[in-house]
Amino acid sequence: MKVLIVEDDQEAARYLARGLGEAGHSCDTAADGEDGLEMALDADYDVLIVDRMLPKRDGLSLIEKLRETDKQVPILVLSALAQVDDRVKGLRAGGDDYLTKPYAFTELLARIEALGRRKQTADFEAVYKVGDLELDRLSHTVQRAGKSIILQPREFRLLEYLMRHAGQVVTRTMLLENVWDYHFDPQTNVIDVHISRLRGKIDKAFDRPLVHTVRGAGYVIRADAD
């Protein structure tokens, strides 16, 4: 993916560009809001990473300006401001996701990849399939290898989110935010327990597990073991 990093802290920009480069993405960087806006308008990027506080033009204003044009590029807002209202402001300005500094790189990478593929993925598909697992979003039913599986409503939404991002790593925080719409730090391993319950229902009775733990990052659902 082609990523534009708009960040005035050079050390942070370097850290991001290097990490994203190692993950196979190509990165451009802009050090202030004006440059960032110009570059975002000139070229086609798959994802923008925008710091909230920037010289010349702040991050939110950049996003608002960009959203006035027909550029549909997804934007991840980075900020040292962690309060609920800050997050809401960032999303209201037109950001697609909001991540608080300091962040784990795995968290950022997972979110970037989720955002970048959002375009082509399945917002409109009625049925998600991973291997022999099928989830019908309309009838709210789940089957694996033809066998019906009964899920609680929250388990269904958890699986739906994992399958929508099939093949991509989703972090615990992403699950917390997107499945539960919770924006606090639960401190304990609550998400892990929910995942393990879900595994008990969709993986336990079958040979090949579909939900995998990615150490230090989160979970991924995929058919292949690679």
């Binding site: 962690a82 309060q83 609920v84 209202d85 300091p102 784990a104 929250r154 539960w180 919770y182 924006h183 606090f184 730090d185 639960p186 401190q187 304990t188 391993n189 609550v190 327990v193 929910h194 393990s196 319950r197 230090g216």
Partner: protein, 501 residues
Amino acid sequence: MSETTAPEATAPRRADRAARGGDTSPSSDGRRAKSLRRARLVRTTAFKLTIVYLLVFGGLALGLIAYISNTTKDIIDRQLESAIEGETVELDNEYRRAGLFRLMRIVEQRSMRPDANLYLITDFSGNPIAGNVAELLYDPSKATPGAAFPVLYTRLVPSEGAEGRTHRALARLSVLGGNYRLLVGRDVEDRIEFSGIISRAIRGAMVVVAVLALLSWAFISRVVLRKVDAIAGSTRQIVAGDLSRRLPTDGSGDEFDRLAAGVNTMLDEIERLHAGLQEVSQNIAHDLKTPLTRVRNRLDEMMRSAPEGEEREAMLAATVEECDQLIRTFDALLTIARVESHTTAVALEPTDLSAVVADMAEFYEPAAEDAGMSLVTKFAPGLRIPGEPTLLRTMIANLLDNAMKYGTSPTNVVDLTLAREGDWAVLTVRDHGQGVGDRDRARLTDRFVRMDAARSKPGAGLGLSMVKAIVGHHGGQLALQDAAPGLAVRITLPLAGADAR
């Protein structure tokens, strides 16, 4: 030459003296202080009030006196007129009864009296034939018979040589039978004299009012300035860092006393917050230094011994985890500070507390079960409070986290109850563990306080501080109770629309 050089030679010296005098001379200092004080007196509210009072009272006094003198003049005029009329009628009757000579006799007699009225009888051609008037001046257009009109006259003086002054009088003309004319008048100099007295009184009163106003201004501003100076002095000391100082109060209960009392209450609160802040920063310094030292030492060790493979991985992972924990602690501290100071911009909105609690119970239930605990819930439905869902969830998460960590017991039951009591929603989280002693319970909500039993478990000792801050932000109360066995955390929050605050 000498004439031109002399001023040049002395000028610098004088300037020099002036410059030195400006710095050192006590008398000029005193003068400046005095003129400064005078300028300050003029700027005071008391001065402005005095001016306003002066204008208002002056105007009032003027109006009142003008009214009284006008009314008095009217009354006197009417009395004069009716007296003149009465006498005219009497004389007219005499004339009719006894004829002209009798009338002349009476007029002559009356004219001789001291302080006599004004009498004049003229014949048909206007020649005076009796009376005490030497000269008469009046505006003929106003001289209608049967009504009084103002005249100027000079009195006919019996004793030669004493030439009479021109007086003002009010007179009435009547036509007698046989075309004789009778004029009866009264001197009005007394009345004019009276007006003079009144206007002198007015001037005197104005002077007295002005002097009194100035005096009261001087008094008020002195008293007020002294109080203000005392307050300003104390304020300066407080600003200079002496937070324990208070504004002087004299117990008089006047405006300044009440103001000072209000400010003192505010200072009490500021001092309390300040003390809390100091304690917190000391705690932070201490409690954050410990993990930072561990991180530093681990990195230092890695530099020295350069471990490889799994050992290196493990050390790095532990270091990152330690940093993450530090960041979480910082975030928690920031959130607590923001919530406590009520500066969080998140407004409280009507929130279904029952739904929030039920969702959280559902969210935590698997984790509780995993930990071997069972969550026993009992919720009253539909309790709405003015709240902020994320903060409320953080609060409940902290409580459940604590109960699961420290509430282990033979039954391993944690009770989560939401009930309604009057205008309050009451949330109780109760474990059946070993509980917390009375003395320690009071300290539980302080930041970084961890019981001995908790030392071995992860956490920073901020959970209950956070809970307390959030409860406070929602206008509720937090009580930690001995549930014997176990600890019961009881939170009361005002219901929406109850306006219990």
